[in-house]
Symmetry: C2
Subunit: 987 residues, 2 copies
């Protein structure tokens, strides 16, 4: 039926000029001998030690991804991935018993395209024989605390697609491998389960958690990673590796290590075989005491190891030979080359039950005063740039589909989304958006995103030209957040195209830098739009540093249809005369039809927030504070705050100012109270006429460090809500988890850092609530936050530190730039909504999606050309409120990838937490859907071919998955938190 066209599906040539492409999951003529079938035999009554040779190749950290690939800048860190892959392939060929796993497709892809076809053939052979196995297989190993699920799914899809098209099913990773990320998100586990992985291994968890799990033999467990999806949809077997991801002590034989090699020539000095065997057996037997089965795993490798794989393999060959030789003397230890999937298969065969976990692995502490909760906020500008880049990238993908082939090659030249796709994928790395890379590497990530956006701009211009029929030059103003846009600053007449990547219509406030004092704005239907002009705030003038000349801002609300655009025309009415000055007296309240906000006239601070519809009011004060970052000189520990670690010197933050100077702008379009707290902290409290949320636009920086004190700036909302030490944060922008102060759900926490130990990642929202009130804060980027006092919620906005935190980055997080030589200034928005708890999600779910996928504004100078289509929607109709269109992207010439998502958790909305059905045939306004076939979440396996190991939790009956059928092949039903992935053939 719907998927009868499947065999015809030819994958897009991934590499230009490149590889032969196979249909999904098929390698022609290949007899399977890879994966689980290729594992070495183990011994039943022995302790089997699985040696897993591996390299951990950061997709950027101390060096840029390309520096790592080539082995450039080895003065910073010796690491060259091209050589690692060269060397491993050579060494695998020397002994068929040897195994290797490779993880980061961003690197593998770079290497692969430089290889001769004979090397490629050899590598395919190694993959087909399971000697080289891909694990994880995304473009990178994403960060878990600071990434948004949509970008993670994209980067995994990119990497896995390359593997699939290059190697077929033998290239499909069976195991997720997140050995380095600094804490683990439940949503990541959920995604991995939905991507078809049989298990996940990682290396880092809280030291107290590990200690407890070692005692209880609970380092291997079943993670139930969703409270909404029906088990085992989001169940993921999870193994915690014994030594992080390093080899056991004394057994590191890489060129980067100094452990003694096995010296087995009795004619030479220092013959050490007996000693090595004895030490190894002791370590293996000891490790076996903290795991359940007669199988244990040892990760034989580490960061950028195996550049000279001979060192490792030569010694591992000897180790295996000499340790197993002891079996003749009665030893019951059996060592073998293995892979994580081979190890996992043995665990599965053990047929045991496993402890069930339903919370997550945040925060991560590796010692009593060493909480890795600083990176939740580190590099807030990069974090925002990554988030807005994702929005632009999704728009780019959508417009590539909607605009047709002209998008890629059209009036504005050749455009592509692929450059941006790779840049976004790289940016998900756990030392990229996490903010834990060196400064020059952070610059490189930003540069890559900017370059990707350049390529996308051509595509977007082409696509909009195709859709609108106008080839007028489109201008992009990426600096509107600081009121810079040369066109609007100088033009007397221009038009504005607002593209909305959401599958429902949006209303959006537009603020344009202008130099006139009065403008007329009309919509696509020629209707006049209410607009106002007022002066650019002092804070904005400070931030833009002469990069723009506008003295005023023109503000109006625009509307845009689902997956479509609307066009607005703007004309200058009055030039030269300054607009009415803003009001400098203290305002006591601003309000629109939904919300009222009051201010304390004595302090200028917020004092209450009311929802006028629900008639609820809370006390709300908000202010800015800074924690003094520990410099490492401390009685308890010498741990300073750094890129990774948050360690305030005192639990009491310094207040920046008890009062704010204010000025107020009140118009029919927007009302704002501008607050100055200090030369480096200001804020605009803003209420647009149509908005259900209150915007707090904060501007922080340059943080002064003349006093030699590192500073970590927070804003804190203190409310009358009775929180009982509980607050809530989202996981990667999806499901929300409950957090309780000084508490962990699975062990008896001994709290040692009252602030840092209570911080959690906030990806898109956090909320506090009691029976009556829920205050939700939607963020515009990932940030760290906590609820330290009853009724209080604090969010860390910016950090400037003077010490490295000894986790390798080797730099203090002290951001400066050409424009901000005295320290980076960061601006962002918090959106506050106040609701009754049972319906709060009805507001914050769409609100957060609107922040994630914000409209793209493009400009054309002068009059709109006659015949231009001023409005367009790619959908026949808006999708139901519960349904989010997550992905719409070109897959190959005749097919597109579509992901639809139910965006509500099962418990959070009476109205929306219900199954909802979408008819794919009736989805698009301009595309004919000819065929549909469902894929797993990462789009590298047909959904109906997915089989995963089944794992039985302790204290629970084995579950039977109820298969729920869709009404028809075209009508797909989404249940709460479900994401469904479809490949559509379209015309």
């Amino acid at each position: 039926m719907a998927d009868s066209w499947r065999p015809l599906l030819a994958a897009l040539l991934f590499i230009s000029g490149g590889t032969v492409a196979f249909p999904l999951g098929q390698t022609p003529g290949h007899t399977p001998g890879c994966g689980y079938e290729s594992c070495h035999a183990t011994k039943a009554n022995f302790l089997n030690v699985h040696l897993v040779p591996h390299t951990h190749d950061d997709v950027g950290w101390l060096k840029t991804v390309d520096q790592y690939f080539y082995g450039d800048r080895n003065d910073i860190q010796h690491a060259g991935v091209q050589y690692i892959l060269d060397s491993v392939v050579d060494q695998l060929l020397k002994n068929p018993d040897r195994r290797f796993i490779y993880v980061e497709t961003a690197f593998f892809y770079r290497w692969w395209k430089q290889q001769s076809s004979s090397v490629q053939q050899t590598v395919k052979q190694l993959v087909n024989e399971g000697r080289l196995e891909f694990v994880n297989g995304g473009w990178c190993m994403s960060d878990e605390a600071t990434t948004h699920y949509s970008a993670v799914i994209d980067q995994m899809t990119l990497g896995l697609r390359f593997l699939n098209e290059t190697f077929g099913s033998c290239g499909r990773p069976r195991v997720a491998w997140h050995i380095d990320p600094f804490g683990h998100a439940r949503e990541h586990a959920s995604m991995f389960a939905q991507m078809g992985y049989d298990g996940l291994f990682f290396g880092r968890l809280d030291y107290q958690d590990r200690s407890q799990r070692m005692k209880e033999k609970e380092q291997e467990l079943l993670w139930r990673a969703s409270d909404s999806l029906t088990p085992p949809m989001a169940d993921l077997f999870t193994g915690i590796l014994p030594n992080g991801y390093n080899p056991p002590e004394g057994f590191c034989w890489d060129q980067l290590c100094d452990d003694p090699p096995i010296r087995d020539d009795p004619d030479l000095e220092d013959y050490n075989v007996d000693d090595v065997v004895k030490r190894f057996l002791a370590i293996a037997l000891n490790q076996a005491t903290v795991y359940k089965t007669n199988h244990i795993i040892m990760t034989m490798g580490s960061d950028f190891q195996y550049e000279n794989a001979n060192l490792w393999y030569k010694n591992l060959d000897k180790l295996i030979r000499y340790v197993n030789a002891q079996q003749a003397n009665g030893s019951k230890v059996n060592v073998l080359y293995s892979t994580p999937s081979c190890y996992l298969q043995e665990l599965h065969r053990a047929n045991l039950t496993w402890p069930l976990k339903t919370d997550d692995f945040f925060p991560y502490a590796d010692n009593a005063h060493d909480f890795w909760t600083g990176y939740f906020t580190s590099r807030p500008a990069l974090k925002r740039y990554e988030r807005i880049s994702n929005s632009n990238f999704q728009t780019c993908n959508q417009l590539e589909v909607l605009g047709g082939p002209t998008s890629r090659k059209g009036p504005f030249g050749q455009g592509d989304a692929h450059t941006m796709r790779k840049a976004m994928a790289v940016a998900q790395h756990h030392d990229a958006v996490s903010g834990t890379e060196k400064q020059h590497v952070a610059n490189d990530y930003a540069r890559k995103l900017a370059d990707g956006w350049q390529h996308c701009q051509v595509l977007v211009s082409n696509s909009l030209a195709a859709l609108s029929g106008s080839t007028a030059k489109r201008i992009y103003c990426d600096n509107l957040n600081i009121s810079v846009c040369p066109l609007t600053e100088s033009s007397n007449k221009f038009s504005l195209n607002v593209y909305n990547p959401l599958a429902r219509p949006v209303t959006w406030p537009v603020r344009l830098p202008v130099n006139g004092t009065a403008y007329s704005v009309s919509d696509a239907k020629g209707k006049s739009v209410d607009c106002k002009v007022f002066p650019v705030s002092r804070a904005t003038q400070d931030v833009r540093r002469n990069r723009g000349l506008a003295v005023n801002e023109l503000v109006f609300q625009v509307q845009a249809p689902p997956l479509g655009y609307s066009t607005y025309s703007v004309s200058l009415l009055q030039d030269g005369i300054p607009p009415a000055s803003t009001q400098h007296t203290r305002t006591t309240a601003i309000q629109n039809k939904f919300l009222q906000v009051t201010f304390d006239p004595n302090t200028g601070l917020l004092s209450s927030l009311s929802n006028l519809e629900t008639k609820q009011t809370i006390k709300l004060t908000q202010n800015f504070y800074w924690y003094n970052a520990s410099d490492g000189h401390n009685a308890y520990s010498n741990q300073p705050s750094g890129a990774y670690i948050f360690r305030p010197n005192s639990s009491t933050p310094f207040i920046i100012s008890k009062t704010a100077k204010t000025e107020t702008v009140q118009t029919s379009v927007v009302q704002e109270v501008r607050q100055w707290f200090s030369p480096w902290v200001s804020q605009v409290v803003r209420l647009y006429s149509d908005s259900k949320s209150l915007e707090l636009e904060w501007t922080v920086g340059p943080l002064p460090v003349d006093d030699n004190l590192g500073k970590e700036v927070i804003t804190r909302l203190d409310t009358s809500i009775k929180t009982s030490e509980i607050f809530y944060t989202d996981s990667n922008g999806r499901e929300v988890l409950q957090r309780r102060k000084d508490f962990r759900p699975t062990w008896n926490l001994k709290q040692s850092e009252p602030i840092a130990g209570n911080y959690y990642p906030i990806n898109s929202r956090a909320f506090i609530k009691d029976d009556d009130d829920q205050l939700t804060v939607v963020t515009d980027r990932s940030q760290g936050g906590g609820s330290i006092q009853n009724g209080s919620l604090e969010i860390m906005l910016h950090r400037r530190l003077l010490h490295d935190d000894y986790r390798g980055v080797g730099e203090p997080l002290n951001e400066v730039s050409d424009i901000f030589p005295e320290g980076l200034v960061v601006r962002g928005r918090l959106l506050l909504s106040l609701d009754r708890p049972p319906v709060a999600a009805d507001t914050h779910r769409p609100l957060a999606q609107q922040v994630v996928l914000q409209p793209l504004l493009t400009f054309t100078d002068g009059d709109v050309s006659p015949g231009t289509q001023l409005e367009f929607s790619g959908l026949q109709a808006a999708l139901p409120p519960a349904v989010h269109l997550l992905t719409l992207t070109q897959w190959d010439q005749d097919s597109v990838l579509l992901r639809l998502e139910h965006q509500f958790q099962s418990w959070e909305s009476k109205l929306h937490s219900q199954p909802v059905t979408v008819n794919l045939k009736k989805l698009f306004s301009t595309l004919d859907v000819l065929g549909v076939s469902e894929l797993n979440l990462s789009a590298n396996q047909w959904k109906d071919e997915v089989t995963r190991f089944d794992w039985v939790p302790q204290k629970e009956e084995k579950l039977q998955l109820k298969t729920i059928r869709d009404p028809s092949p075209w009508e797909v039903t989404l249940r709460p938190m479900e994401i469904r992935t479809f490949l559509l053939t379209v015309r």
Copy 2:
């Protein structure tokens, strides 16, 4: 005729259980394609750049040789030779254009014996195709300043023999490669010439010398390395490498380097091909301006590089491709993979004339205050131990031959000389006997020598049992220099076997630690021998530190026949009563029939020396001084004295004491004046009754460093000889070179270090002379010395330094040990002879050989068994005085290697500087010589098959070598300084 048996000569199996052995210079079934034939083509009108991939693998330095081999202790230095060879072989196979040279056979041998036969076959193929080429090829790259020629020849023979037997003629190096030694000895060049090398390359020379040679394009030259051998016998083409032995700046692509790799993927960041090509061309063209031909060489490698050869070769492949691609744009630069021999061949083809050099390359300074003249003396105890080990090793070799197969397996078990041979070979390395290694490595060299000697002792005991007919247990007393020998200390009756490894009879003073007060000694014929007992000196008691109990020393003279032994019996006559006390008043003179020595009664110092036969007398005062080692804090330079570098803080040494306390022992056997200068400097001035030389036995240490001053102790002889700023030192124990103060023969020296810049290596002797008098000092080890003032000769005896000298060793030369925790005490001897200059060599040549090859004493307790043969000589008669038997060693089952040497320079003795003929048939008393065939000096090529490149010096007619025929195949004629090497079949 004499060599008709040649084809039957089967080489001894080198490796136990090992390789197939080929006759000399033959590889069965091999079509030659190696060596010069395998060189890549060059381009006539281009600048040809020869890239020479190489690794420089120190046979011990910061790590021991086996640590380097295995890659152990990489915390000290990352270096693992096993991996280098693994990696290079793999990489050579990837591209037939690639080349590699390997140098140090000590490492190659270790690696080879661990390889599978298939790898061995592959390597043979690479060698046969010239892709892997051996250069130098000795066991190590020997030091040039502190080695003795006999040990150098042995170590070269050992390495080259392995290559020859393993690879046949394709394994024979054509080029000597001394890239690292710190200055270059003329005798080394002479030996290399006689070993058949076509040329020598090195990297280090005086910075002024290099600068001058660059200006004059004289970095490639013809070295005439002997004043006695007929040219071109000792002529050696010598090339000075452009960058030491490193790659040009910016082009080091080893894992140990940080230079940017060639990034040639335009899709990735930082594409740099254009920049690399541009930089390379600039360097090549610049280098070409200081060399003569249109060929230049670049050494692409350095210390322990190529452990991951892929890094180098991958980038070199690209370099060659991209640089040569520029030829299409008119570039006249052609880059190719090459080897030193391929480069040398092109120089030879250039058919030019070359500047002639007849002096040497000492001392070596790399900057104005950085003279590498400290290592001439560094580690004086190791230097002596190496020298005495050589003596024992030669005895061991001789006795293996003379004692027959019983030597290797006899009544005392299995013995061998091979362990000692390898230990001695390793000890010749330029960071071994040089004293420039780390302390733990110095310990390892000593341990290896001691282990070798243990193996030899079994052989020697077996051999002496076979020769004497007695299987009585033989006891070795290796600590007689400090009067320790448990047997003689306690026994009432014992016998003493004196084996003499020289080819002429010797008289030798024996000093035995005893506790009796009177002994009788009888010789092999039962004749009583004059002997005396007197107390062990205080200095000796201090030095031995409770390791011996003897209160007295028994002294007598023994005689031993050529290559033979004599046996003496010793019986206690009187026990318990202390011997007559020594005389504490100041003696004014001691004398024997040859010499008289006077002392200044006021100071206790020497005041004159007279030769009673020639009736010549010189004023001679001698005292001890110390230079204060620079600690690096100095206005001119921050260079401290260290293991390599001698840099006194002031040119005026501190005197240790102006006067000496003395005591005198005067007996019919020996007369000695014992002098105390300080608690850490003493001396015995000693004259044996039959000796033509005066012995100065110095004891120095522990050097006090409580004052934080590093000390370099010298003894200085101040005489009435009018030296005109000239003195003489030997080169590697052979030819003597003239040295002039503040002068270098080939350039206008700008002297910047008045002491260190006038120091030269003394290997076995130094002398000063005028028309009437020559005072020769024969040393017992290599030492540094100079003649700073007229009539004066100073020799550095010991050094203790508190700073590293920044040449890599990373330790101050501050020797302590378990026995000497407060600093090493060193004891040694200088032997002084005074003669008329024209006949001085007649004394010092045999005297020096007697110090180099000293008798070996072995002891048996109790009565001599009846029937024991008490005397033996391996020769039918002593060899003529001009002839030294340099080598007599078992080669394989039926053949022995013999080296005979004319030990006089052509100009130094009217009596002995004449051709002399030896009849090989009539040489040995117990061996029948069945066949003889002459070899080159290193015994890896038949003499009559040796062909070398001919090189024409500037300003000289091309020489025609006169072939001088021997009188008969058995009668071989030796001319001054000639060494001839024979393989004899014997029965």
